[in-house]
């Protein structure tokens, strides 16, 4: 049975899916579903019947583009048959710069060192007391501070006259405050670390936190010393506080008023003059930079 004739007749019924006449083959960027046709446009056709020519040209190119798309590997999904697209080759600009990596918090560092992995837990937990499912945290959760219990037993060591509800509320407040303080501390340390370790931040990695805490502590200590000195009598007559910071390394040395060596005196005075007026008649202030700085600040 020769069915080729039947097949041919069947094929003739439908229009062809191949496109002839493309001297330069089309370039495709399938990641963006785009086709680039470099073939020159037929100007006479364009002038004669513009819209029909454009439509036929577009139809041919769309046919070729779809032929390419349908040749991509496909997977079957809930949404039907999906074609797997390659990565786009045409570079399009982003709308925002790359995100700067946030430095590690204290907990993250500890968890990494210990090898603690964060496992996702279910939101609803079975509560044995009531026999129903309750959220692990949040509104009507089993984790509640317990101030909503209708009865609270006085713990063995506590004063029987104490208000236990009050005690529970105070305890929760304290916990929240502690958490807040820790969050603040993390944020400050992160800021110091980012500022200090600009190199790795610009590369796109997390900054090194090791010196950040020491730096932060040093910064705070410096500020305390400055504030101590900022009183009317430069901190001389302040009441001594127990456990206060003593400024380190500040020793005052006094040169004798009248020296035999006058050259030293001259050198000292000239260096003071240089710092005030400027060396060799140069300006200490770079006027150009100063103008730029004030302009940008405005």
């Amino acid at each position: 049975m020769d069915v080729s004739g039947v097949l041919e007749a069947h094929k003739q019924k439908f229009k062809s899916v191949s496109v002839e006449g493309k001297v330069i083959p089309l370039e495709y960027d399938l990641g963006l579903l785009t086709a680039y046709d470099q073939n020159p446009i037929d100007e006479t056709e364009l002038k004669k019947n513009k819209d029909e020519y454009l439509q036929s040209l577009s139809r041919d190119n769309a046919q070729l583009l779809f032929n390419e798309i349908f040749q991509l590997p496909t997977i079957s999904d809930d949404n039907g048959v999906m074609a797997m697209l390659p990565v786009p080759t045409t570079l399009l600009p982003r709308e925002k710069p790359l995100p700067k990596p946030k430095p590690e918090t204290r907990w993250e560092k500890f968890a990494k060192a210990k090898g603690i992995v964060n496992r996702k837990k279910e939101r609803m937990v079975f509560d044995d007391n009531t026999g129903e499912y309750k959220p692990r945290w949040g509104y009507k959760g089993i984790n509640d501070d317990g101030s909503k219990d209708w009865i609270i037993e006085v713990p063995s060591g506590a004063n029987p006259m104490e208000d236990q509800y009050e005690a529970r509320r105070e305890a929760k407040k304290e916990r929240v405050e502690k958490n807040d303080k820790r969050r603040q501390r993390n944020m400050e340390e992160a800021a110091v670390a980012s500022k200090m370790d600009q190199k790795t931040v610009n590369k796109g990695e997390r900054p090194n936190m090791d010196n950040a805490r020491a730096m932060k502590r040093k910064e705070i200590e410096n500020q305390i010393l400055i504030s101590k000195n900022s009183t009317a009598s430069a901190g001389k007559f302040d009441q001594a506080i127990k456990g206060d910071l003593k400024p380190k390394g500040i020793k005052r040395k006094f040169e004798p008023n009248v020296t035999a060596d006058l050259s030293k005196e001259k050198a000292g005075n000239m260096s003071i003059l240089d710092r005030v007026v400027g060396k060799n008649g140069e300006d200490l202030v770079n006027v150009r930079k100063a103008i730029k700085a004030t302009k940008s600040r405005k």
Partner: protein, 315 residues
């Protein structure tokens, strides 16, 4: 200029988090603005482009005193307030009739912008044909040999792709490719200036063919615009370079140590560390054990003794 918002509830916090810089970005939102004077053609064009860009589009219905090529500070404010990085500004004046200005922002600062004048435009409502659904991903076609050569064309191609490509996905539903935007470049003018460009939008109809691949037919859906290029502001090279940076996570990963040999078989390479062959744990073979001189003598005498007792056990 804008006050920095400190979130006081979770919803605001979520919105702010969505707006900050991410490795994989959101779909760019576009703002469609009318200038102080507009014409019917410009209004129709803006309305159509807005429809194609929905739902990631904001339409400013009131007229604004906005001249992007003279002063683009307004754009920065709009961009920050609406978290939008694409703009289309429609204006009409005697000097520049029926003008659309496409602008892009990077980090809420102007990246680049270009102006096109519409010579002839047919809006969507004039085509009495079925339209595609809102929010579908289009296919694109750029016909003509100018699209890689002239800076006007390069920027326009980049703009159109940026506006309408939607989200960069790694898979697409074959049934969901509903329309195609086709841009054709006309011949250069006699003075050597860029010629007209023809933008057409068609819905795709898949027809049966004798083979597996379908036959494509196009039905014009609109908008259809014939445009000429106007002024253009290109991006500063360092800002442009920064905007094209791809984060490490999204770079295509190279597969290392896997090659295909001449026969077409996949060959892998494993790199072993240094091995101390004396210390490898292997199977014990008593005969291969190292013997010192004293033990050899004893062994021999022992063997002799054994030889006397049972000769079969030797060796």
């Amino acid at each position: 200029m804008l006050r920095t918002i400190t979130p006081r509830n979770a919803r605001v916090k979520r919105v702010l988090k969505n707006r900050e810089a991410k490795t994989e970005e959101n779909i760019k939102t576009a703002i469609f603005i009318r200038g102080s004077q507009t014409s019917q053609i410009v209004n129709d064009a803006l309305a159509d482009l807005y429809m194609l860009k929905k739902p990631h589009a904001v339409n400013f219905t009131k007229k604004n005193q906005i001249h992007p090529f003279e002063d683009h500070s307004n754009l920065q404010f709009f961009s920050q307030k609406n978290d939008a990085s694409l703009f289309v500004i429609g204006t009409h004046s005697k000097k520049r009739p029926n003008t659309l200005t496409f602008a892009r922002m990077f980090d809420h600062q102007l990246l680049d912008m270009m102006e096109v004048s519409i010579e002839k435009g047919t809006p969507m409502k004039d085509f009495k044909t079925p339209k595609s659904a809102i929010g579908m991903k289009p296919c694109f076609m750029f016909n003509g040999d100018m699209w890689d050569q002239n800076p006007h064309y390069i920027m326009f191609k980049s703009m159109i792709l940026d506006f309408y490509h939607g989200q960069t996905v790694d898979k697409v539903a074959l049934a969901g490719l509903e329309y195609v935007i086709s841009v054709t470049s006309g011949p250069m003018t006699s003075e050597g200036k860029p010629g007209k460009i023809y933008l057409r939008t068609y819905t795709i109809v898949l027809k049966r063919s004798g083979v597996k691949l379908p036959r494509i037919e196009l039905v014009e859906m609109g908008p259809s615009m014939d445009m000429t290029f106007g002024r253009m502001t290109e991006a500063k090279p360092d800002v442009w370079k920064q905007s094209l940076r791809v984060p490490k996570e999204l770079k295509p990963k190279k597969k290392k140590n896997i090659t295909k040999d001449v026969m077409g078989d996949t060959v892998g390479r494993i790199h072993m560390g240094r091995q101390d062959f004396d210390k490898i744990q292997t199977r014990k073979m008593k005969g291969l054990k190292k013997r010192t001189a004293s033990t050899e003598e004893e062994g021999e005498s022992g063997d002799k003794k054994q030889r006397v007792d049972d000769s079969d056990d030797e060796e």
